[in-house]
């Protein structure tokens, strides 16, 4: 399975500046593991200590947030697109 992974601007310096990377995997977790294997610097930005995707990292498969699919166990197929979208948040308090 080959999936197009869209890398957000803040993570591109950790992935040789690439915007998009073709990676293999049968599930979101496998694709993310491929990404981290190739670009280990990304791990800490994506995952917490338990290996779960951080709360402020949103992951989309095609048009849907994986929280509304099967989380990181969501299966992916050839030609799918996986988007990594860090949250935009803050506030005066």
């Amino acid at each position: 399975m080959s999936v197009l992974v869209r890398i957000p601007t803040p993570l591109r310096p950790l992935a040789n500046g690439q915007k998009e990377i073709q990676l293999k995997g049968a599930s979101v977790r496998e694709v993310l593991e491929s990404l981290i294997r190739d670009y280990p610097g990304i791990r800490e930005r994506l995952m917490d200590e338990k290996g779960e995707v951080r709360r402020f990292i949103n992951i989309y498969v095609n048009e849907e947030d994986i929280r509304f699919l099967g989380g990181t166990e969501t299966p992916v197929k050839d030609g799918d697109e996986l988007s990594i979208i860090p949250a935009i948040a803050g506030g005066s308090r």
Partner: protein, 142 residues
């Protein structure tokens, strides 16, 4: 473009759009994006919904972020900055702003409705370090 040796030149029309957005949702915080062509200066403000509808916090809806980024990709535009308002406090990044700054590559713009006319300040936030970048609102074409 948009970046002078001494700081940023920011179009008046975009400043007006940010202040109008801040006023329209007061007393909640507003939030949105400033976008630019690759390597260029800011050309458009995209108001986003504050999913928290709070006077002291903001968070964009991931779904709206996803859709906007897809549209920007099609148009050949990129995120240049992230703006939000502090309705009643000074326009300086709070501890929350710094902790949740996941875009060290972008400008964080802050306005405050505690002052009139509302100021607009620009910062970079990298590894918890805030750096103010002088911003001048420019009435003319950039």
């Amino acid at each position: 473009m948009g970046r002078e040796p001494s700081g940023l030149l920011f179009p008046l029309g975009l400043y007006d759009a940010i202040v109008a957005h801040a006023r329209s949702v007061f007393p909640e915080e507003c939030c949105g994006l400033v976008v630019a062509p690759s390597g260029g200066g800011p050309v458009r403000v995209i108001p986003m919904e504050n999913a928290l509808h709070s006077p002291v916090r903001y968070e964009m809806s991931p779904k709206e972020q996803f859709q906007v980024q897809k549209n920007l990709r099609r148009e050949g535009l990129e995120m240049w900055g992230i703006y939000h308002s502090h309705p009643s406090t000074r326009p300086y990044p709070s501890e929350t702003d710094i902790r949740l700054a996941f875009y060290p590559d972008l400008y964080y713009l802050l306005t405050s409705l505690a002052e009139d006319p509302p100021p607009l300040k620009a910062y970079t936030i990298q590894n918890g370090v805030v750096l103010e970048i002088p911003l001048t609102v420019s009435p003319g074409e950039l």
